[in-house]
């Protein structure tokens, strides 16, 4: 016999809501500001700029390490009076051409890879072969094949974008849950429609991270290539701007050129990729 079997039953009424105190209350103004990622990042940027300024003032040598303020000044001067903006536009144009073409080829390759077993083997083999190959190492060959024009730059850019994007997209496709695939098939989707309507959105977190890596690789490759390659058809890009000013010992301008790359990186990350992320994978609950 259970010892507790004779315990009485009891039933309780809910407490009135005014007895609880706080059930739900808005958070403070300060907490809300600090919850904004942009604010936190701005604080980090300000701290970094401050550290730069303080360190450069202590070094006190404009030839090796110009201050933050003189770099900003050089940036402003270069943009308003100099040719920094035309150089930047040139670089951006080549960059977008290479990036776009690289993504298109990556889309083609990963679609083939998910549709056919042989396509899968092809992608795996090609990425294993070419992914470790630094794009810049192909530049001499590229110059022979495509001459001293944008063609050579676009070629090395495509090489640097294609493999990381294709690899990420493909692993994203393969990670799509079997249930979602079956749902797509259930709708009678096949071939391109199936890839576009089911696989691409379902693999979007991976695709997006591939696009981000591709973007960063493209910038690195482009600036490096321009540093080696110099000027083509009278106009050079940012890399050329950096090299040109270095030979003239305009070190503040060199820093301004580098800062431009950094600024563009920040703008694209926070203005483009973050917005895409918020409107897609975060809204869909596929990424925290």
């Amino acid at each position: 016999m259970l010892a507790g079997a004779s315990r009485p039953e009891w039933v309780r009424e809910d407490a009135m809501s005014e007895d609880f105190g706080v059930v739900e209350k808005p958070i403070t103004w300060w907490e809300r500001v600090w919850n904004n990622g942009a604010v936190r990042k701005a604080v980090i940027l300000i701290l970094l700029a401050l550290a730069w300024e303080i360190y450069a003032r202590r070094v006190n040598n404009a030839l090796t390490f110009p201050t933050f303020s003189s770099t900003v000044e050089a940036l402003w001067d270069g943009a308003v009076h100099g040719n920094l903006l035309t150089r930047l536009l040139f670089s951006l144009k080549v960059l977008l051409m290479g990036y776009g073409l690289g993504i298109a080829l990556a889309a083609l390759l990963s679609t083939l890879a998910i549709s056919f077993r042989l396509g899968n083997d092809l992608l795996e083999t090609l990425t294993a072969m070419f992914s470790p190959l630094p794009a810049i190492a192909l530049l001499p060959l590229s110059l022979i094949w495509f001459g001293l024009g944008n063609g050579s730059l676009v070629f090395v850019l495509v090489h640097s974008v294609l493999w990381p994007v294709a690899l990420n997209t493909h692993s994203g496709f393969r990670a799509v849950s079997n249930t979602l695939r079956m749902v797509g098939k259930n709708y009678g989707l096949r071939g391109f429609g199936y890839v576009a309507k089911i696989l691409i959105p379902a693999a979007f977190p991976n695709i997006l991270s591939g696009l981000k890596i591709g973007w960063a690789f493209a910038w690195r490759t482009l600036i490096a290539a321009e540093l080696i390659f110099g000027v083509s058809s009278g106009t050079g890009g940012l890399g050329w701007y950096i090299l040109e000013n270095k030979t003239q010992l305009e070190i503040a301008n060199v820093f301004a050129g580098l800062l431009t790359v950094i600024l563009i990186g920040l703008v694209v990350e926070n203005g483009v990729f973050r917005v895409i992320e918020q409107r897609t994978v975060r809204r869909w609950g596929m990424q925290a």
Partner: protein, 273 residues
């Protein structure tokens, strides 16, 4: 084998005719025979339940009806046409909660099914989607994304999506198995209510005897390794008669487990990996 007495609806044409179907699939190391010469017939308006312990191939059988697997022997016909590939005339409702497209809202999920199959478009599709989402009491969540819903709500969306397509047959693969017991009972009641309203045909897979008795009007019992038909039974007519239901459950239980006394406890414990 299948000595089923003529069904009371036998005068009408069978909707789904499965004859002598043997299914095999390959794992990394083995060739597995999931079902061996299974036959059954589903008539319009049936709530046909495939019931059996793990390993009886009931899910595999359902996937074959869905067109995801091709039998190595026998044939399956839907409205007289052989089943060759997946298609929207057989809508699946899966057990997994991730069967909704996470990049579409509740309404868009139902709409997408209607429009991408070309069944309906425009205002007609919108009206149909809304109507079925209202039926499953999700009228207030039309614009929510799936990840904000509870498991039961996700399954309701999946059911609404399947019903909105008004398929020849709705294929449900243990749709309530991943829900908690209270929600499961509620969903079972809801499914029966929906069936009362529209009288769709459903092929329902479960490993719960109580669920089979409650949901089905006709129950196909399968024995495992490989799956073979053990019996085809009529379920109780009056669900409020708990004595009859309990008796049937007892009978099914005995049929499924009596000859396997030597190896107790291996039936429900091994869930499909």
């Amino acid at each position: 084998m299948n000595a089923a007495p003529p069904s009371p609806t036998a005068v009408t044409e069978p909707l789904l005719d499965v004859r002598g179907v043997t299914l095999q699939y390959k794992t990394k190391a083995h060739l597995v025979t999931a079902t061996y010469r299974v036959s059954f017939t589903v008539y319009p308006g049936d709530r046909f339940v495939l019931l059996g312990p793990s390993g009886c191939g009931k899910s595999t059988l359902l996937k074959a009806v869905g067109g995801y697997l091709t039998p190595i022997e026998g044939e399956m016909r839907l409205k007289g046409r052989p089943i060759l590939r997946p298609g929207s005339d057989r809508m699946m409702v899966f057990q997994e909660f991730d069967q909704l497209l996470p990049w579409k809202t509740v309404l868009e999920n139902v709409l997408f099914a209607l429009t991408s199959t070309g069944r309906l478009r425009g205002a007609a599709a919108l009206d149909r989607a809304r109507a079925y989402l209202d039926k499953v009491n999700l009228g207030k969540f039309l614009h929510s994304y799936p990840h904000t819903l509870s498991g039961g709500m996700k399954q309701r969306v999946a059911i609404a999506r399947g019903m909105a397509m008004e398929p020849d047959i709705l294929l449900m693969d243990e749709p309530f198995a991943a829900l908690d017991a209270l929600t499961r009972r509620k969903m079972q009641d809801e499914l029966l209510r929906l069936w009362d309203e529209t009288r769709f045909t459903v092929l329902f897979v479960t490993h719960g005897i109580d669920e089979a008795v409650k949901i089905g009007n006709r129950i196909l019992l399968l024995s495992p390794h490989p799956g073979q038909v053990k019996a085809e039974l009529n379920s109780v007519v009056d669900l409020t008669d708990s004595g009859a239901a309990a008796k049937l459950e007892r009978r099914i239980h005995d049929m499924l487990f009596n000859d396997r006394v030597e190896s107790p406890g291996n039936s429900e414990a091994i869930s499909h990996a």
